[in-house]
């Protein structure tokens, strides 16, 4: 058995950026192993020959295209199990994201395969792949090897760099897959609903982000005033977006945006891994949190242990004064 099969997620005719990273990573690893990198796409008519073939630019020699419901994991598990059954790839790779976790996990059960999640790097060792996975709030990194094949590797968000390798086009192979009975028992009713106002945070040089520590939706007024004073934008964590305190379009992390501003000021954010992956490349990270054990202090450049309700208004005034003077 040989080769790496990467799942490429798409939406409205475009391949997901994290999936492109995973396809690029597979291309690089496969050439180190002297094997082939394949990709698989699952969905409807927007998966055109042209779109599928572009995955060749990122290192896939073959793209398996399956017509099936998209946006849900279990039909993709059926599709990948069939392709691996017929072509014998040694590894299945996923970029960061919710679906990758679900598909990889389903495939683990279906194929009795080993799985590693939140993987930040993959290396070739003795002709096999070894996955590096941070654990315990990133306080240690374990090297994981697979027993038997295939090995399933689920990347962390933004772990793999997108690299357009050349102009080669991938061969597109249509595969017919009969879905498992239970794979048709979950039906997408509405996909990709945007909640809250549409805001742009990705181009901002300065971001003031708020989390659950703000206490209530109105707490965001503090962030907005500070962002105004600094000339920046306001962002939010998933917890407060799910709670309806702020717009989904301003969400940082796992199922939100990835940003790297000059200044990221986090108010009342504990710093869970799912948030960290979306902002850790920021140039300067400042955190204000009343819990001195909050994980965010482990990756802040300046950490302030204290009550944001006292500090943020005064900071806003001080910055206004500084700019005015």
């Amino acid at each position: 058995m040989s080769g790496i099969l990467t799942y490429a997620l798409h939406y409205e005719g475009a391949i997901n950026k994290n999936s492109l990273g995973a396809v690029s990573e597979a291309g690089k690893l496969a050439s180190e192993l002297g094997q082939e990198a394949h990709a698989i796409v699952v969905g409807g008519d927007d998966l055109t020959d042209e779109l599928c073939a572009t995955l060749g630019n990122y290192g896939a020699s073959k793209v398996f295209r399956v017509k099936a419901p998209e946006g849900l994991a279990q039909p993709v598990v059926d599709a990948m199990a069939k392709v691996i059954g017929e072509h014998g790839q040694s590894y299945a790779l996923f970029g960061g994201g919710l679906l990758g976790f679900e598909i990889g996990a389903g495939l683990t059960a279906r194929l009795g395969a080993g799985v590693t999640m939140e993987v930040t790097a993959v290396k070739v060792q003795d002709g096999k792949l070894v996955a590096e996975r941070p654990i315990l709030q990133d306080s240690a990194i374990v090297d994981v090897d697979y027993v038997g094949e295939p090995g399933i590797i689920i990347g962390r968000l933004n772990a793999f760099e997108t690299q357009a390798a050349g102009s080669d086009s991938a061969e597109v192979v249509d595969v017919e897959v009969e879905l498992s009975d239970f794979s048709t028992k979950a039906v997408m009713k509405q996909r990709g609903e945007q909640r809250g106002a549409d805001v742009n945070i990705e181009d901002a040089d300065i971001i003031v982000a708020g989390g659950r520590g703000l206490g209530k939706a109105e707490g965001f007024e503090l962030c907005e005033s500070l962002a105004d004073a600094l000339g920046g934008a306001v962002a939010a964590t998933r917890a407060v977006v799910d709670a309806g305190w702020y717009s989904y379009s301003a969400q940082i992390g796992q199922t939100g945006k990835t940003v790297a501003p000059k200044l990221y000021l986090a108010a009342g954010i504990s710093g869970a891994i799912q948030h960290k992956v979306g902002m850790q490349s920021s140039e300067n990270i400042v955190a204000i949190n009343k819990d001195q054990n909050a994980p965010i202090f482990d990756f802040s450049d300046l950490g302030i242990v204290g009550d944001l309700n006292k500090i943020v208004p005064k900071l806003t005034e001080a910055i206004k004064a500084k700019k005015g003077g």
Binding site: G104, A109, Q137, I154, Q190, L230
Partner: protein, 264 residues
Amino acid sequence: MKICVLVKQVPDAAVEKRMDPNTKRLDRGGEPNLNPFDTHAIEAAMQVKEGGKADVEEVIAVTMGPEGSERALHKAVSLGADRSVQLSDESLAGSDVCATGYALAKVLESESPDLVLLGQQSDDGECYTIGAVVADHLGMPSLTQVIKMDVEGDKLVCERQAEYGYDTVEVSLPAVISVGDAINEPRYPSLKAIMGAKKKQLDKKAAGDVGIEADKVGEDGSRTTVLAINPPPEKAAGEIIEDEDTNETVEKIVAWLDERKLIS
């Protein structure tokens, strides 16, 4: 309807977690408690039971863990579960995600639930994959990170945030649903419920009782091996200010930002 809630005992979040360098497994010492994410799953089960849209006969807390993991089950029944099941067997020690998911599916099969609920992740191993592994073994539809769940006849209407926004998905029962912590605010157990927890039925099962094949679990049944544990790359520690005098703190922050030309 019968609802099973998968729960897990984890070391208390306040205790520093570490890996045992000899076994390369998580050292699960320290004050154990119910995984905080699981309390949302129990609360979701209770809300289905109390919501009046489904006739729920029983809510059963199910765990896999060594002797002592009864503690998590006691907490689970104090939060409202009717009884609990503990799968405990030496042969299960060292199981990876693949083996753990298989073993949990076998113990769930013995209960034939209409709905399996679990928390989106565990506080120790962070393996938010178990739900999907279990679902595939049980041949049930599944969805993870659900933040809203309504019963409509023999279906659940679920909402969750995925890569491109919020998705609404209709899932037929029986199903496996992992819930996100935004789904509800778990209740606090009453003193009476805490006192009564140990009196509720707790069934202990060994691997053989639920038909678990020995070669599929434990270290032998696992499909991953930890080769090494390494420290993370060194990162210069950030500066920390404890806010005592807020005016002074703010002055320091402004100076810090100004030094880096972030105020312009």
